[in-house]
């Protein structure tokens, strides 16, 4: 049992549920940023604060990307786009949280059934990682704005990251950095696309884009 890790896991669950229930875009971005910072600390915590160089470097990279660069990019996009700062959900906030609880239960069940190659460091890690991935997917599916979809994508990546940390004690740094690069590029591209969509149509509502196909 690792108390620090469990605390982080519970923090993750709470932040995910908050994201599902929040209406302000700016706050959402900040919450995802905090999530990123905390996750950046996770590998250090799991190793009991033993400060190995590559771990520190790795944590620093994660924190600076997830905690600083992505939120900064997104906030800037939000500011430049002068969009309404509402999330505009397809599924209401209350319902979202309720569905989030259902997903959490399913994830707990999955976590208990999933055969793992190595024992996880905390029994909470696998279900929570799943839950984070699912919340991200849920955000993508249930929100209208392109920005929220980028956020959902980031949350999903957080989940994948947690999963990776949980399973492999010695981080396969290359793999993780690969995913990170992937996400970085994705956020970048989406930022540009959003900008262009906005310039072209005066909004970034993906729901209205579907009218284009007719």
């Amino acid at each position: 049992m690792n108390n620090a890790a469990d605390t982080i896991m519970i923090f993750l669950v709470l932040t995910n549920l908050t994201l599902l229930g929040l209406s302000r875009l700016g706050t959402c971005i900040r919450i995802v940023a905090v999530q990123g910072v905390v996750l950046g600390l996770l590998p250090l915590l799991l190793n009991g604060w033993s400060l190995e160089l590559h771990l520190v470097f790795f944590s620093a990279a994660i924190i600076s990307l997830k905690g600083i660069v992505f939120p900064w990019l997104l906030t800037r996009a939000l500011r430049d786009l002068k969009t309404q700062r509402e999330v505009e959900p397809l599924i209401g906030y209350g319902t979202s949280i309720a569905l989030g609880m259902v997903i959490l239960v399913i994830c707990m069940w999955l976590g208990s059934r999933l055969p793992l190659p190595v024992a996880a460091m905390s029994t909470l890690i696998v279900p929570v990682a799943f839950f984070t991935i699912m919340s991200g997917l849920f955000l993508i599916i249930s929100r209208k704005k392109a920005v929220t979809q980028v956020l959902g994508y980031l949350v999903m990546e957080n989940g994948i990251y947690t999963f990776g940390v949980a399973l492999v004690q010695k981080q396969p740094v290359l793999v993780e950095l690969g995913i990170l690069l992937d996400v970085f590029v994705a956020v970048f591209v989406m930022g540009i696309t959003m900008f262009h969509i906005n310039r072209e149509f005066d909004h970034i509502d993906t729901d209205q884009l579907s009218r284009l196909k007719v």
């Binding site: 599916i141 993906t206 729901d207």
Partner: protein, 659 residues
């Protein structure tokens, strides 16, 4: 073998260099064509070695894909197909280097060269692959790269439609092949061809039908041929030459390879092949007769020639089934020699058609005329190709058809009823095909090259440049050489025949030797004929020298002012024959007759649409699209819903796995 693989590498590098230099048209053409030519020459050397000595070369590399391995092998059967693939592609590349330059202002030439070289690699790999998965991958490389070549002029609506039809047809065919290989692999436990043996007869029957449909779509068997009349006219001419000359032959190759794997053939396989061949042959040439567009006409002739090849294969298979060496040897020899011959003369004809298209900007036969005076080289080589495709001695087309005739005839003379019936069907079909082909090419050559120009298009005709001329002259020379030296070629075909049939070496050798003796007689007689023609030509020159030669109209028929529009058109030339076969052709005629004493307007228009397209595919696709439109609600165009679909699928799979 390594020489072969290096050849492919050279071809690929050439294509890549051309892609990089796409904006500079001259460089792109140089790299593409040079890569194709140099690589082909390198890679064809091992193929020739295998063909002559019959020693199989192979190369195997493990592959990290389940059931896949990079297992390639050149045996005599592969060699027979590799030689025309590399030969024709190299010659067509020289032609294409000049042909494509006409598009230098409008288009990036890197892409067509890249895909051309990729197509060449795909075809070569298909023929040497000895693993089901590798075969399918190569098959797809071939289909997709040729799709991009067909849609080269994508800004034209007809070209886009042709590309779509081609893509769909190819993938329907591939679907059958995937099932074919899965069943085969399931039986043998491996997809390597050398590990497959002893296929039980019930499974073999199913596999045979799958192969007929899968490979037949590529080859263009009659009800499956619909893509040919669209794709060939749409593609650039050197690509049509390669597609029609060698790419569709990979279908024939696949069929031959499947037959060697599937074991002893029951009689009905042979009959299926002979009937498909006869139907494709006769209907192919009939539809060719009714066409107005030169390249479309040639495309239907590809169907016809595939029919002849399939008849040859069917006869050869019947020989195995009836244990008659003469049928087996001459059937397969005729069919496979026709594969090479058709590559040469059909390549030549498509290049000729391309030259006409290049200089006149139209392929509509009724708008041309009289261009023999403006394009003598093209006209002369086209004439040689026409004679060859009609199967007239002493050119190569004659030899392969003659071998099939000889086989069924000799077998039919000696045997009972079961030997006479195939002889009657095959000889009847081949004779009909030959006669109609002659009529068709008399029409095509006569209307396009003879007479007077029928329009401004024909007026602007001019001879093509040295690269295109070189390619056409080379192929025309090959038509002649393959005809005259056919006895030698036939004699060296023993390795191939041995590979396909289960006959003994002396049997094969004896049959081939007797066939080549007969051929020598033909060659001898035709050389005498050539000699006589030569003597008369010289005599005519001598007699006319020093005299005044004038040009005048042939005969006026009392018309005061005969104009070029009064010449026979392609439609009117073919009308007696098309009327005779109107049961199959179902030509639609729109006529508004001239009325009154001083008629003002009158028009005549004919349109022959493909029967299988009109009465088979159109109704079928209408039903399919009706059914599928019921699934429309599934597709909203909303990103969120699509992600939901993916998430749901993954979730259900995960939960199902956890249960």
């Amino acid at each position: 073998m390594s020489l072969f693989l290096w050849g492919l590498v050279i071809i690929f590098v050439g294509g890549l260099a051309s892609l990089i230099n796409g904006r500079r048209a001259g460089l792109a053409s140089f790299f593409g064509a040079a890569g194709a030519v140099a690589g082909s020459i390198t890679a064809v050397i091992p193929a020739f070695k295998v063909f002559l000595h019959g020693v199989t070369e192979s190369f195997r590399l493990n592959w990290n894909i389940p059931f896949g391995s990079f297992f390639v092998q050149i045996d005599a059967i592969s060699a027979v197909f590799l030689i025309p693939i590399f030969g024709l592609s190299a010659i067509a590349a020289v032609y294409g280097a000049e042909y494509l330059l006409a598009y230098r202002e409008k288009k990036n030439l890197g892409a067509p060269w890249f895909f051309y070289n990729l197509l060449l690699i795909g075809m070569a790999l298909v023929v040497v692959a000895r693993n089901g998965l590798l075969f399918l991958v190569a098959w797809e490389i071939m289909s997709l790269s040729s799709f991009f070549l067909v849609t080269f002029e994508y800004e034209r609506q007809t070209v886009r439609q042709a590309g779509l039809i081609y893509l769909i047809a190819m993938h329907i065919g591939t679907a059958f092949l995937v099932v074919f290989f899965i069943l085969l692999g399931h039986h043998a436990g491996s997809l390597d061809f050398d590990k497959i043996s002893g296929v039980p007869s019930s499974l073999a029957n199913v596999l045979f039908m799958l192969a007929i449909v899968g490979f037949g779509t590529k080859a263009g068997f009659m009800p499956l041929h619909v893509w040919l009349p669209y794709a060939h006219p749409a593609a650039p001419s050197h690509v049509s030459a390669v597609m029609s000359g060698v790419m569709i032959k990979t279908g024939i190759y696949g069929l031959v390879r499947a037959l060697t794997i599937l074991g002893f053939p029951p009689a009905w396989w042979c009959w299926v092949l002979i009937l498909i061949g006869a139907v494709s042959g006769v209907l192919g040439v009939l539809f060719a007769l009714a066409q107005h567009d030169l390249k479309r006409l040639l495309a239907y002739h590809s169907v016809e020639n595939i029919g002849i090849i399939t008849i040859g294969l069917g006869v050869g298979l019947l020989g195995i089934n009836m244990n008659s060496p003469i049928l087996a040897v001459l059937g397969f020899a005729g069919g496979l020699f026709h594969v090479i011959n058709h590559a040469v003369f059909k390549g030549l004809l498509f290049l000729g058609a391309g030259a006409v298209l290049h200089s006149c900007k139209t392929g509509h036969i009724d708008l041309l005329g009289g261009i023999i005076k403006r394009m003598p080289w093209t006209a002369f080589t086209f004439l040689i190709g026409s004679i060859a495709i009609c199967g007239l001695p002493p050119l190569n087309g004659f030899v392969s058809e003659f071998l099939i005739y000889l086989g069924v005839f000799k077998n039919g003379m000696g045997g009972g009823l079961e030997a006479v019936i195939p002889a009657l069907i095959v000889i009847g079909a081949l004779a009909l095909i030959g006669g109609l082909a002659l009529a068709c090419f008399t029409k095509a050559f006569g209307v396009i090259f003879l007479g007077h120009p029928r329009s401004d298009y024909a007026q602007q005709a001019h001879e093509v440049g040295p690269g295109m001329k070189f390619s056409m002259v080379t192929l025309a020379a090959l038509c002649l050489l393959l005809g005259i030296f056919s006895p030698l070629v036939i004699k060296s075909a023993e390795n191939v025949i041995l590979e396909i049939t289960l006959l003994t070496f002396p049997d094969v050798q004896a049959e081939l030797a007797s066939a080549s003796t007969v051929l020598w007689n033909f060659v001898f007689v035709s050389l005498i004929l050539f000699g006589i023609i030569g003597v008369f030509t010289v005599l005519r020159k001598l007699l006319l020298s020093g005299r005044c030669v004038r040009q005048t109209v042939t005969w006026d028929c009392g018309y005061a002012q005969p104009g070029p529009k009064m010449q026979y058109t392609a439609t009117s030339f073919a009308q007696p024959l098309t009327d005779l076969f109107k049961l199959f052709l179902r030509t639609r005629k729109d006529i508004s007759h001239p009325k009154g004493v001083f008629p003002v307007q009158s028009a005549f228009h004919t349109d022959t649409s493909d029967i299988s397209e009109k009465y088979m595919y159109e109704p079928a696709y209408k039903w399919i699209s009706l059914l599928l439109s019921k699934l429309r609600w599934f597709q909203h165009g909303r990103l969120q819903i699509y992600v939901l679909y993916i998430a749901l699928t993954l979730g259900i799979l995960l939960i199902w796995k956890m249960m």
